[in-house]
Symmetry: C2
Subunit: 389 residues, 2 copies
């Protein structure tokens, strides 16, 4: 297994980007990453692309070839592979790229993620997002994605005494972080009261508990570590990338209050690297809903089960604490263009580990963790990154 | 790079399978392959799944997790990854699995492909298939998939004198082969006259020049060669798997009469293995239309450019000739459940290389080639397989 470095990053602003198509977004992010890596295109061995549902959102499949073509990579007949696992599409694409280089099969790989969600209306968008869940046993009975997460929230409140205010505090923190991120969809702070009073979506979750519908793209360039210094003075090491599955339907789980795929992926990642949760200073976790972040920080091992809500309300995951969670603003404030999210998490960690995160810099960040989820936890991917001294 | 073996294969019949859902198909093929490999489920390291457009065909994304769940693999939290490149989805999934084992990262991997196409009507099905082409510059102007291939056929006739009868002879041959394949969608021979007189779809192509709309699934189990004998007496070696891209739109190509992605993928495959086209006795090539097979056998190097039609009409690609092409019946007669096709090609080659192909057995088959295409040639994958003595 070779060491793998990230030598370039690029992303678009996330938001309602009416004037940009999926191909525009993909090309912008991809070329930004290639420029950041000081690469010429002919050094690239492969492209991996995370995208959940271009078929439904823009009536286009075969997205890998599309982006390869419009980025100029088709000229050299570079292999382009689209990977999909709903919300974890970006994280899985990253893992494919990581494995390709770690194994010695490829030297330089571009991994991108992109989604163009706002070309369809809100109703269809909600339906498409529900395709991450089990269409036969969940979605077709009317269980939207917010509804499934509302059940999780209710059960977490019941089992552990988590309060509505604690859940809402995730949104307050992430909006505060987002206010320091010029690429975030929402760059305004919000008050706890605003979250509590926001229009109900699926109770107890209100509008401000839900990540928005977003357009956007992000990309990274991966390279064998022994060649990384040729391109950059600040390579960031990919220490490992792990993935795990769980049942697609919530009904088949032992508990609604944990995502076992997250736990297993995290355990595998810590075991492989010899690190533990306390070694991590900065984590980007999958907060598609406020309750999701509480589950995530528990399942990843940062806090004992049931204490994620209290820890968040207590400021233990905010910028300045020992562990900063979702400094980018997270899905909640940075935005959630589904296929792009897993890559955008990595982009944020690279900013942090390079020491380039500006106002939201985590002092002395040495190890970062990205946690990307598909559906209601049926797929989870964990990436561990480290600063190279 | 470790040697990789195929130790198990499984598939469903292809056709209009009204009583089987996508998950039924995927499970049936996957479990058949696992049984064929004499595996217990807990030895499996990962699942890769090829699928083009479950989002559009059955309103379900996150198919990797779905199949992992319903196959019982989620219990062990096995990573499940869906790969998409339109018609080449299966071939690309196979390549991911091959790389995972060749690199030493995984030991035993299940690779499946599945598509459930007949739950939507013919018009929508045609629209979905057109999403493999460029939605912005081709499909949205009304260029369906048959229309794009009709242009290719016209140009091939113009440039090389290929005749309508030669093109039709591909269908006659593949139906004859399909008549010997109990899993084929069409198991009846047809006459040249029937092809010529079939209702026009996009002239010069008629109904019998087009692969059908199909439901179906196929799966293989891949294993490191040094462990393969533990499971089977008849491992088949994967000699290499190569992939190449081209422009998504036909309009951006130098020539309509060749798929450069095919040529490049084939050249890479022959270079890596030291084989040449004349070493191959049996090939499964991507005949989504009759004209596609003519392009394929030329681009793969079996016949000089322009001579594929004459060679086919002359019987040089039929069972019994030095090279047998599409002994399964090909997409044309075996059927084309899009994501399953690239895996079904490999399943057929394994039958041939094991000497288990029954009436359609190619005598002394030693090397087999599978050729899987996405869109009108924007993605191509070539797999080279060899008998293990």
């Amino acid at each position: 297994m070779r060491k793998v470095a990230i030598i370039g990053i690029g992303d678009t602003r996330f938001g309602e980007l009416w004037d940009l198509s999926l191909r525009d977004l993909g090309i912008h992010a991809g070329l930004s990453a290639v420029y950041d890596a000081n690469l010429s295109g002919d050094e690239i061995d492969a492209l991996y692309l995370g995208n959940m549902s271009a078929g439904k959102f823009i009536e286009q499949e075969h997205i890998g070839a599309l982006i390869a073509d419009y980025s100029g990579l088709a000229r050299d007949h570079i292999p382009a592979t689209r990977v999909e696992a709903a919300g974890a599409s970006g994280g899985l694409a990253f893992r494919q790229g990581y494995m390709a280089i770690a194994s010695g099969m490829q030297d330089i790989v571009v991994v991108g993620g992109a989604e163009k969600m706002t070309d369809v209306g809100d109703t269809l968008s909600t339906e498409i997002q529900a395709m991450a869940a089990d269409q036969q046993w969940e979605s077709s009975f009317g269980a939207t994605f917010p509804a499934l997460h509302a059940m999780i929230a209710r059960r977490h409140m019941h089992d552990y005494g988590t309060t509505r205010e604690q859940i809402a505090s995730v949104a307050v923190k992430n909006h505060k972080h987002g206010s320091m991120n010029p690429k975030a969809q929402f760059q305004r702070e919000i008050k706890l009261e605003s979250v509590l009073k926001s229009p109900p979506v699926a109770e107890p979750l209100g509008l401000f508990d839900c990540a928005p519908v977003s357009d956007g793209a992000a990309a990274v360039v991966l390279c064998a570590m022994d060649k990384a210094r040729k391109y950059t003075d600040t390579p960031v090491e990919v220490l490992t990338s792990t993935q795990a599955s769980d049942t697609l339907s919530l009904a088949h789980r032992e508990s609604l209050c944990r995502f076992d795929a997250t736990t297993v992926a995290a355990e595998r990642a810590f075991k492989r690297t010899g690190l533990s949760p306390s070694d991590i200073q900065v984590a980007e976790v999958h907060d598609s809903f406020t309750i999701s972040e509480i589950l995530a920080i528990e399942d990843l091992g940062f806090f004992p089960k049931g204490q994620g809500g209290a820890a968040t309300a207590d400021g233990q995951t905010a910028l300045g604490a020992k562990l900063a969670v979702n400094t980018s603003g997270g899905l909640k404030a940075r935005g959630d263009p589904i296929g792009a999210t897993g890559i955008a998490q990595v982009v944020e960690l690279v900013h942090q580990l390079r020491g380039e995160a500006g106002k939201r810099q985590v002092a002395g960040a040495e190890y970062g963790l990205a946690h990307n989820v598909g559906g209601t936890g049926a797929t989870a991917v964990v990436q561990l990154l480290g600063r190279v001294n």
